[in-house]
């Protein structure tokens, strides 16, 4: 099995992480995970099953790297002035917007972020229920919602900064 599919598994890993050594390690982890769960492979679908495990390994690797990059210390200091206290910086940034402005921003998001934000922030679904509705794993859904909030916050902060500069310029 390893000799037959190592090219496929390595290719999936390499195309997702774009690094030879990491792809080699992830391909090895993929086969090890496949060996542990060999009984769960649907007969005749070995190719898709191995590619799925490889995509999962690459996803975990990329997600940890992304989380490290995005979690900057002192985020709480950057909360917007005038926003409700006792909330995270993203929630504060969103709460500082008007309802219509927030709706427009969410609907302008691209997929895969628009649906999680629409369901949870506009229609008031709990994340677990919203994940079930759009047929995404709950962990993936939560990660997408978290990134979407970060994106919205960055956009709002950028707009505020532009407004402030424009205001300074006119005065």
């Amino acid at each position: 099995m390893v000799r037959t599919y190592q090219g496929l598994v390595y290719t999936v890993c390499y195309q997702l992480v774009q690094d030879q050594d990491t792809a080699q390690d992830l391909a090895q982890e993929t086969f090890l995970a496949a060996w542990r769960a060999a009984g769960r492979c649907p007969p005749g679908c070995e190719k898709q099953w191995l590619a799925r495990i490889a995509a999962n390994k690459a996803k975990d690797h990329l997600r940890s790297g992304w989380a490290r990059k995005m979690s900057t210390p002192g985020d709480e200091v950057l909360a917007l002035a005038g926003a409700p206290p006792d909330q995270g910086p993203e929630a504060q940034a969103l709460a500082s917007l008007g309802e219509e402005a927030l709706r427009q921003k969410i609907l302008a998001l691209r997929e895969p972020y628009r649906t999680p934000c629409r369901l949870c922030l506009l229609e008031g679904y709990a994340p677990a229920e919203a994940a079930r509705l759009c047929r995404r794993p709950e962990k993936t859904f939560n990660a997408q919602l978290w990134r979407a909030k970060k994106m919205l916050r960055a956009e709002i902060e950028q707009e505020r900064e532009q407004e402030r500069r424009t205001g300074d310029g006119t005065v």
Partner: protein, 169 residues
């Protein structure tokens, strides 16, 4: 370029960009997340990969994988067998050396201290006679020692009687 369609699945050009290595880190993360649960997109992706030349890993995977499986087996299956063997050997050693009886005997002696003294033993007439012989208790001295004890006690008491008689005389 749009990576995702309105229905949330990957676009054809998105998949092609992934294969051509044109996606940034966030795009690759989004694609990996989607491929990890969407069967339809995974089928399309593997079909596209099957058509082109697959990359080969710089080092053959079978040998390091064999080592990894061996280590896994050693730490899980053989490790447990080794621990069970050591435990069995230890138990056998304790049993054969007689330490087990010593430990149990001490435990029984310790229990005796908790018997209250106020409880009067039943009268001899009330106790039904039986052929059952009480086995020696763990703390009890063997018969030979008891006999020796009785002989020494008799000798001492006779010696005391003589000494008392001489003193009186």
């Amino acid at each position: 370029m749009e990576l995702f369609r309105e229905d949330g699945c990957l676009t054809g050009e998105g998949l092609q960009a992934l294969i051509d290595g044109q996606l940034d880190e966030l795009g690759r993360l989004e694609a990996a997340e989607h491929l990890s649960y969407c069967d339809a997109c995974m089928d399309r992706y593997t079909a596209l990969l099957g058509g082109g030349a697959l990359l080969q890993p710089p080092r053959d995977l079978s040998r390091p994988l064999g080592r990894a499986i061996w280590v896994h087996l050693m730490t899980n299956v053989y490790g447990r067998v080794a621990v069970a063997s050591v435990a069995a050997l230890l138990a056998l050693t304790i049993w054969r050396s007689g330490s087990l009886g010593l430990i149990l005997g001490r435990g029984a002696c310790a229990l005796e201290t908790y018997v209250p003294e106020e409880i009067a033993p039943p009268a001899a007439a009330e106790v039904p006679k039986s052929d059952y012989k009480t086995p020696p208790r763990p703390g009890e001295a063997p018969a030979a020692v008891q006999k020796a004890h009785e002989a020494v006690s008799g000798f001492l008491s006779s010696l005391a009687a003589r000494t008392g008689g001489a003193a009186n005389g």
